[in-house]
């Protein structure tokens, strides 16, 4: 299963440092996380970028990933 790791700010919502997920795409991931961790709402997650195995995906709506993927949510990177 893929594993989602939460930074300290998200940990407050998630209540844990990481969680294993069966999802293999972004939409399924949101659904699974919000069911497993109700405090981690779509409003919290959707403004964030998804990092898949070290690759930052700013707009992850159609992103998919492997069952072994390491996932992180981070703040979207601003333009300069």
């Amino acid at each position: 299963m893929a594993r989602v790791y939460f930074n300290a700010s998200l940990e407050k919502h998630a209540g844990c440092v990481s969680v294993a997920v069966a999802a293999q795409n972004y939409r399924a991931l949101l659904e699974e996380l919000t069911q497993k961790l109700p405090q981690l709402t779509q409003e919290v997650l959707m403004p964030l970028a998804l990092v898949i195995d070290g690759e930052i995906v700013q707009e992850p709506f159609l992103a998919d990933f492997s069952a072994e993927a390491e996932l992180h949510f981070i703040e979207k990177i601003a333009a300069g």
Binding site: N7, G54, E55, I56, E59, E75, A78, A79, G80
Partner: protein, 750 residues
């Protein structure tokens, strides 16, 4: 793209396609468009830093025959009182609207209060005196310490701190808190032999783009309204104006003029929506310009910051723990780059135990905007200064110290993900063997060195390439060219198509003639729009093969295409790209390729800078006597432009470190709103910036590009700060290292 590749055009120093028009004055910038019947707009700005607007009376102005239209906050239908009453207001646009035209309260010196349009610029400016405003002056909050004190005046009565352990119950000037951690910070410091802990601060600075904001607009009831302006993102100008004025995107066309610098400061809107309101009301085209003073007082500078850094290491040079508390000024409305500041602060280091806490703080200064690698120069300045001090305490060379702790492939960052292949070690090695670092330090000179990290980003880009019957073509892109990207697009397309770059004319199209493109920024354009160019060119190659196949009556699979020539693999026939284009009418019409992508796989970038500084101990004046910028570009498409980005970032960072700062009176009045008093470095102030390009390819880009615009501004702050500290023998904790500050340090030491 991991293997070494030979390129025909990539890596060459071609003639820039926009150069001739720029040096001969033919290029059209933001203020260069005038239209028949055009009138002028002007803005009334607040003389106070913090005040309630008790009365705003425009009746005398309305009665003036010179005045053709007036705009106030109430003209924003998305957020005005009527929208609030009927529940249709867009809450998310409130801060943007209030920043453009104040709503009941002014929050910084120069905050726009109302606008007037008249037949001439002089008449518009004169008519501003006919607007009567009654202010109730409030105590301004001008720095982080004042803003977070228990007795601070509150700027926004409804703003609660987000991100606290428990939900906030009282209004605060701190809009948000962020926390990042890795490992066990206490155990990390307990394992350290030496610890450095210091506080640092950086001032409010401006991007210093030479071209002030300007716009010319025409409101059109029966078709798209037109906005002409210098911007880093004309699609986002369209979106913001549409949201503010309750228009559909299709009702607005934005044309990006040539741009005289942006550096992140031209990623939002100030004049454009106001001009469109004035145009709608007057029925005339409207032009507006900011003065230099307006640009300083009321556009978006970079955040001032306060940082507390603690770093611990063993005597063998292994860093065991790094900790930071970072405060960023957001200006009058929430939204500083505190987040990226927290994420980047320690990323150059592979350290087990990290802890970072960040705060976004509102003050009575203009709302900040992006400035090259937003948030990173401030936090990494503090971290790099502390790292240099720690290396010195341990007795290690600063490069060796960094090499021992350098981030590399597999390093887990504090913001979560592990780094892929990155070039920090390669940059440090290049620095170590550089002519600069291997040269002895001259007498009375201090030397400083620092590293920097920026993520780089991808995002949405759209490109069309049209070929003409003679084989020439046009590259139609939608990424405003702020740093030479048109040349890069030309070269990447030429590489794929096997033609001369000069045969392809790159243009930045308006919002109607190319699909959506994200704003130029975050070092995304050569990477992401470049990927779209490659994809569009590859689309054309497939079509060229099909057209040649049709000419030869074979299948496309029987055609190869290389170096601009199609080869019939079933025979010896050949057709050049130009010959295929010449026959295109017979084989299905003219040839055009396109790509609409959301680019992923941006490659992070690291840089290392070396600075030598001489200080006049009688006057405190500093002179940079030698400077070298080393950075991983992934692949330098056009090395001259890449070197230019390194040099530009270095110069802006040197200015930030040595002289630049917003100076306010105790009443919050900006006292140096002009280039005479706000001192950016001039060419005559600096030596040639030596640029060393390191190329560790990004495997996600067809040519290995990482992006180079941001990272170069990060290391100069600490490289300069450390060099000054070495030169005067005193620690530096506050930027800029201006002569009065240096003298004060020297006097205190005597």
């Amino acid at each position: 793209m991991s293997e070494a590749r030979e390129f025909k055009h990539i890596g060459q120093r071609t003639i820039r396609p926009d150069g001739f028009d720029k040096v001969t004055g033919k290029a059209n910038y933001g203020a260069d468009l005038s239209l028949p019947g055009m009138i002028w707009g002007a803005i009334l700005r607040s003389p106070h830093a913090h005040a309630n607007i008790k009365k705003l009376d425009v009746s005398r102005a309305e009665a003036s025959p010179d005045v053709l239209a007036i705009a106030t906050f109430e003209d924003f239908p998305s957020v005005n009182a009527a929208a609030q009453r009927d529940g249709t207001h867009r809450e998310g646009m409130m801060d943007t609207a209030c920043n453009i035209l104040a709503n009941q309260k002014v929050l910084y010196h120069g905050h726009a209060v109302a606008a007037i349009a008249a037949r001439s610029q002089a008449a518009a400016i004169a008519a501003l005196d006919l607007i009567d405003v009654e202010y109730e002056v409030l105590t301004p909050v001008l720095n982080i310490d004042d803003a977070i004190s228990a007795t601070a005046p509150i700027l926004h009565e409804t703003m609660m701190t987000q991100g606290l352990a428990e939900p906030a119950t009282e209004a605060s000037n701190v809009s948000a808190r962020m926390e990042l951690k890795k490992g066990d910070i206490e155990a990390g410091f307990a394992a350290a032999d030496v610890i450095v802990e210091r506080a640092y601060d950086t001032p409010t600075v401006h991007q210093g783009y030479i071209e002030p904001h300007a716009t010319t607009v025409v409101f059109n009831d029966n078709g798209p309204s037109m906005i002409w302006c210098p911007t880093q993102g004309h699609f986002d100008v369209r979106a913001r104006v549409a949201q503010l004025l309750n228009l559909e995107l299709g009702q607005i066309k934005v044309v990006a003029s040539e741009i005289g610098g942006g550096f992140g400061g031209k990623t939002t809107v100030y004049l454009e929506p106001v001009a469109l309101i004035l145009s709608k009301k007057s029925g005339r085209p409207v032009k507006m310009e900011m003065s230099r003073g307006d640009v300083f007082r009321a556009s978006g500078p970079a955040s001032a910051s306060q940082s507390r850094i603690k770093v611990g290491a063993k005597m063998d040079g292994t860093i065991t723990a790094m900790q930071a508390t970072l405060h960023y000024e957001a200006g009058a409305f929430q939204g500083s780059p505190m987040g990226p500041g927290c994420m980047t602060v320690f990323t150059p280091y592979d350290v087990e135990n990290l802890y970072v806490e960040g705060f976004d703080v509102v003050v009575n200064k203009p709302k900040v905007a992006a400035y090259r690698a937003p948030g990173a120069p401030q936090s990494e300045f503090a971290a790099e200064m502390a790292v240099n001090e720690l290396a010195k305490k341990i007795g290690m060379d600063p490069i060796e110290f960094r090499l021992k702790n350098a981030a590399k492939e597999g390093t887990q960052t504090i913001y979560g993900p592990k780094l892929k292949v990155v070039g920090l070690e390669a940059c440090l090695e290049a620095a170590k063997s550089s002519p600069h670092y291997t040269a002895p330090i001259p007498e009375n000179v201090g030397r400083g060195l620092a590293a920097g990290f920026w993520f780089n980003i991808g995002g949405q880009s759209s490109v069309i390439i049209n070929l003409n019957p003679d084989g020439t073509g046009t590259i139609i892109e939608g990424s405003p060219d702020i740093g030479g990207s048109r040349a890069s697009m030309q070269m990447m397309a030429a590489e794929i198509l096997g033609v001369a770059p000069s045969s392809l004319n790159p243009i930045v199209a308006d919002t109607e003639h190319v699909a959506y493109n994200q704003t130029t920024g975050g070092s995304r354009t050569t990477f992401a729009t470049g990927m779209a160019v490659v994809e569009a060119a590859e689309d054309i190659v497939e079509q060229l093969k099909a057209r040649a196949a049709a000419m030869w009556n074979v299948t496309a699979e029987q055609v190869d295409f290389k170096d601009g020539v199609a080869q019939n693999l079933s025979g010896e026939d050949q057709l050049t790209l130009a010959e295929i284009c010449a026959s295109a009418e017979k084989t299905g019409g003219q040839i055009s390729g396109r790509a609409n992508i959301n680019a992923r796989g941006a490659g992070p970038s690291f840089a290392v800078h070396i600075c030598d500084i001489k200080v006049d101990k009688e006057t405190g004046k500093t002179d940079v006597v030698r400077y070298t910028a080393i950075q991983d570009a992934g692949k330098a498409i056009h090395p001259s432009y890449v070197e230019g980005q390194f040099q530009g970032g270095a110069v802006q960072g040197i200015g930030w470190a040595l002289n630049e700062e917003y100076v306010y009176s105790k009443d919050g009045i900006m006292e140096n709103a002009g280039f005479l008093d706000y001192r950016i470095p001039l060419a005559s102030d600096l030596p040639e910036i030596e640029a060393i390009i390191v190329e560790v390819p990004n495997s996600f880009h067809p040519f290995g590009v990482r992006g180079v615009g941001e990272t170069g501004i990060i290391p100069p702050l600490a490289a300069v700060g450390t060099a000054v500290a070495e030169a005067i023998g005193q620690p530096i904790s506050s930027l800029p290292c201006s002569p009065p500050k240096i003298l004060k340090l020297l006097m205190a030491a005597r």
